[in-house]
Amino acid sequence: MGNLIKRALEHSVNRRTFLGWSAAAVATATVALSGPESGLVKVGSKAEAADAASEGKWISAACWHNCGGRCLNKALVKEGVVIRQKTDDTHPDSPDFPQHRGCARGRSQRQQVLGADRLKYPMKRKNWAPGGGKKELRGKDEWVRISWDEALDIVAGEIKKAQAAGGPKAILAGRLDSRLLNAMGGALTTWGVTSEGAWPQVEAKMYGSYPLQCSDRFDWRNAKLLVIWGANPAWSSAGNPIYNYLQVKKAGAKVIVVDPYYSATAQALADEWIPVRPGTDAALLIGMAYHMIKNNLQDQAFLDKYCVGFDADHMPKGADPKESFRDYVLGTYDGVPKTPEWASNICGTDPMVIRHFANELATTKPAIMNSSAAPARTYRGQQYCQAYLTVGFMTGNVGVSGGGVFMSYHSRQSYSSISMVNGGSSGVPALPNPLHPYETYTFSKPEKTDWYSMAYEETYDAILKGEFTLGQRGKTKCDIKMIYSLRTDSGGNFLNQSSGTNKGIEAMRKVDFIVTSDIVLSTVSKYADVVLPECSQWEKAGALRTGNPEAVFYQEQIIEPLYECKEGIWMERELAKRLGVDPEKVHPLPIKQQFFNQIASAKVVKPDNTGMESLVTITDADIAEWKVAGKPQQGRITLKEFREKGAYQVPRAAGDKLVNIAYKAFRDDPEKNKLATTSGKLEIHCKALSDVIHAYGFTECPPIAMYQAPVEGFEDTFKDFKAGVKGEYPLQMFTFHYPRRSHSVFDNVRQLREAFPQEFNMNPADAAARGLTEGETVLITSKWGKAIRPLHLTERMTPGVVTMGEGAWVDKDDETGIDKAGATNSLSGTRLSGQGEQPWNTCIVQVGKWTGAPLTPDYLWKQRIVF
């Protein structure tokens, strides 16, 4: 490390003509360049042009976050110093074969990796002592630098102690699987759905596939209507999805965006914006279905042939014919016709707009509907998914060119669901958690009885109350002594990112010991006892980055590990030695070997779409150079080319053989190509869905789409809904993905804070009623917490609805209980719903005057620099 600083300084002094580092950048952005600033003067453009980038090397650099995109990111490295970044320029750019350009976050990667607030040394909380010490000081205690030996001895000792007290069940590993703990009998884990809300089980049971199939982006251009439901790909699926949508529009499709907020996507693409209140989309859809049925606009032939449960004549075997969707909509048995007026009273959308939208959707063929997961991140969110799919099926847009009833999000949005190129396996053998031998994200087997773990939303209650739900087995007792959260990829910042942060802080202050690893002092680490400094991906041997259906990205090591940072693998191997566990069993493969294995087993689709073939040619010389175990193989590109480009992108052109139309086989021959549902058809009435939701043990789900008021939905903003009397928390708050960060990652980066101020958005009418004005700091309160934020007034917000971006780094004052960062989870409560989804978008709040000091802009705040 010292060497790197020395080189950086020499570089700046000797090569005064190039370096553009300003003193401010030195102070805030880089450890590699800290030191005297005298040499760091940027010169005029003449000299700069002469110098140019004739030296230095562009290296493909990881952008490893769970942001919603997957793009190419490169770093210019000169003499060991990262000078600047760029994105994809590996081939000429065109809409058919577009470059994969990174976003504002990716372009700030250097600021994150080399930030002055990187964690540098192992450290412990000053007032921690075996047993916990002064637990109430977690989150505000001083940090003490310790040696790696001391840190590892403490952690190993605490693991032994917790296991002696309560076995594997005494340690909570949370969402992040620990191979070390799994090798020692496992640990308590948490499961459920975050990103996708209530979608997974609905997709699996009604459609027969999870994830849902989607058609190829070239086929999207055949649509005459594109409905984007609750999605803002401009900000939440960074990279090409929004650009692909633009091509759909340019090809002639009309675009309708349904959203409570007139989003960046809406303003760029929408011919029409349909506002809807959060958590009420199901009501809007059911009102649309009423209009379609009353005017006989549904594709009855499609419903009769391909679906079950729409009407009494087409019910699945064994179902009560009175339970048809049609009869529910018409109010045949409950006496409540679900008219557009009925819907409007709930969702707020004008009844005439509902009729017009229903007409348009039912009569424009072919049409693509694409939903995000946001409307399903609600209490009882299944009802939205059921209603969305049902109305989609009523239009018959399944399995046809230019049509689709899709749910796609993240980097796959706008693409086919089929990966045309993928990174292979790292070759690390599975080491499952004996306490929960299933997947944790979207855990789908609640009916089994061999799992012992809890829903994300129940974590804090499990710690505080000592019990949690085991599906239909009911509540079980627990006594959690320790939280173990080694975070290899910036994920797992649960205290910030799960509902109910205030309850979470209380829970964090109850256990005896908390260890995390981190690259910066994120919220979960701030409240820990021992924090271990982790290498960022730029300091590791490399990996392939996947998730983009048409490209795979090669990331390699950019810099040596900073300060005393270590890889998570090293930490667990060292702990294993102290705990008498074989480190080879825990982490048998170094990262470089894993990287090589991924490359060797990467596959790419054959140009004639007849299967997959190896992507990379590997020679004996490559293997020798890499110093890894492997075999030579023939692939499409050489390892050298892959490394130099930093990416492989499947060549695409209009009319190529790779165009896939989702569910076409089913549409062409539903008898021969049955879906993986109970009936083999699309299930508008779906008992399997009701059964599985029941098995989780939280809420019940009717077999057809019905609207039931969610907890903390629109209805709960009233003291008396029928009389129209508003209650204590009269506003609905939803959250959105903010370009300032990837969930909570990057929130510390000042240039992103400057660009995106974490403002609280409200309609001017709601502000006027409260005497609030643009830009002032306001106090936001909920049943669960308080936050302050600068107010932004905008007609783009639906009245009665407010929003701000999720993921701000909690900055809570214990005295007042106020979070000045405006983390949305400081305002959300924990709620158990459906399949353990996190219902962030059903949350009710009040907003009022703030009489304290106004907030300064976030980018001027002190960074969390520990040492």
Partner: protein, 183 residues
Amino acid sequence: MAQKGFYFDQTVCIGCKTCQISCKDKNNVAPGVLFRTVHTFEGGKFPKPWAYFISIGCNHCENPRCVQNCPTGAMHKRAEDGLVVVDQDVCIGCKYCTWSCPYSAPQYLEEKGVVGKCDGCVDLTAKGGNPTCVDSCIMRVLEFGDLAELKKKHPGVQVVEGMPDPSLTGPSIIIKAKPEARK
């Protein structure tokens, strides 16, 4: 001299600010200093609101006020391509340019005591490349090149609601404007 300039297609800009951030990365400027900025404009009335963005750096004006008001000659307009650049070895940090530019293009760099600004990424464009902002754009709404060529290729305007009167300086920019943004 072939005057260089920017084209901006406002109709599909998504306000993602990748241009602003990639510019900061390229120029290594601290928070508080922006050589390119994305501004948001909003209006209308629910349920018919509107919104648009303006991405703007230096417009390398025909009559740059910053050059006219520079007492040292540090700020100058290049004969070969009309780019307005500052020689930081000559600049004395008097800030006259920062006060006279209607677009806030020249920015005072506190820690260096001189002015910096968008120079059209001359180091990149000299080699036939684009300025960083152009090549970073997710929606491909920015272009850079000979102004006359850009005008031919893209019929557009020099000003939209929210920008200063173009007759002040003659900005080298062509904008495809959203209906709500048209003056």
